[in-house]
């Protein structure tokens, strides 16, 4: 059996609204493809990904394996990142009140690999690298 990788730029994922982005990722992975991107989902979006994965688990799809490396941020960059998070939280809050879903949230700089758990047997993570063992 063959193993398919899909390398997708973070800007292509950024263009998608949040719910559609998660849907795209899970549809790709459920299809048996390993997805690699030059970005990192925010922690809350990654938790949403886990939750959505659980909703889609079935006999043929036991779930996913994820590994990501985020570029460390320091000083001003770190403060800006936190400010962006706060801004998004406020926008989410307002959209919740008005009923119009705010879904835009950008990926952080880094690298992420998401693949089907039935093919990825193990991910060994280090602070600055990770290795992936697959079995097809």
């Amino acid at each position: 059996m063959k193993l398919k990788f899909n390398f997708i730029s973070s800007s292509a994922l950024d263009e998608k609204p949040r719910s559609k982005r998660l849907s795209f990722i899970l549809n790709t992975v459920k299809d048996g493809t390993i997805l690699v991107t030059d970005g990192v989902l925010k922690a809350d979006e990654e938790m949403d990904l886990i939750r959505e994965t659980m909703r889609r688990v079935d006999d043929g799809f036991p779930g996913i394996e994820v590994a990501s490396l985020k570029k460390p941020t320091k000083g001003v960059q770190s403060v800006l990142e936190k400010m962006t998070d706060q801004k998004e939280r406020i926008q989410n809050l307002i959209s919740g009140i008005t009923g119009s879903p705010f879904e835009k949230s950008s990926l952080r700089t880094g690298i992420t690999l998401i693949g089907p758990a039935k093919f990825i047997k193990r991910i060994k993570k280090n602070p600055n690298s990770f290795s992936v063992l697959t079995e097809v």
Binding site: D44, M47, R51, V57, P62, V66, S68, A117, I123
Partner: protein, 210 residues
């Protein structure tokens, strides 16, 4: 969120303190229920839930309310919330080797996936988290990283629990090295080792509910 700290101070100052909703989170089979049982037995004499070597034994949030911890002459009332283990995959076939029928294994897997969803939902309803890790295992897992990232984003105080230090292969230092920015308490929930240190940490780092 800085407002969280302000409100915490405000509510404490004006005496609106309520109980601490203490969530016990972590991956599967790291000893969350053993820890919940230990804390509950220490202070109420009763256990919270059943412990098993079979993964996903805890598939629903188990609660023990109004557990009063006495530390340094002060009382702290906590609602103990033992969460189902977080996971990115649940394969019903993994339960077959424990003697489950195919039907029972699928049922357990279904309940386990619901349990993960429930545990994630509860992240919005906890005041403080004990993030339990198995000190014999590699702590740098995506589940741990995602969990801690979420707690940080929500400004929820977290204490890392390096559990199972009674085992020879335990390397609690690897948890400190992997997550140096968090307080770590090394315990054996099974043997009740270092529990006083844990209660000190809970009293020190907990944020009370509102």
């Amino acid at each position: 969120m800085p407002f969280g700290k302000f409100f915490d101070w405000f509510y404490t100052f004006f005496g609106f303190r309520k109980t601490v909703r203490l969530g016990i989170y972590g991956s599967v089979n790291v000893g969350k229920t053993t820890l919940a049982n230990r804390i509950s037995k220490d202070w109420t004499g009763e256990e919270v839930g059943k412990v098993s070597h079979i993964p996903h034994e805890t598939r629903f949030v188990q609660k023990k309310e109004k557990v009063m911890i006495k530390q340094d002459g002060k009382n702290l009332t906590i609602n103990l919330l033992d969460m189902p283990g977080l996971a990115t995959k649940i394969d019903y076939r993994s339960f077959l080797k424990y003697g489950f029928s195919k039907r029972a294994a699928k049922q357990r897997a279904r309940e386990a996936t619901d349990g993960v969803i429930e545990a994630i939902k509860w992240l919005n309803n906890v005041d403080t988290v004990l993030a339990v890790m198995d000190a014999t295992q590699d702590p740098l897992t995506q589940v741990n990283i995602t969990l801690l990232g979420n707690l940080e984003a929500k400004d929820i105080p977290v204490i890392l629990i390096a559990n199972k230090i009674d085992k020879k292969r335990a390397r609690p230092d690897s948890i400190r090295e992997a997550f140096p920015q968090y307080p770590v308490v090394e315990i054996s929930a099974l043997k009740g080792k270092n529990m006083d240190e844990l209660y000190e940490a809970i009293a020190k780092y907990s944020r009370r509910g509102r």
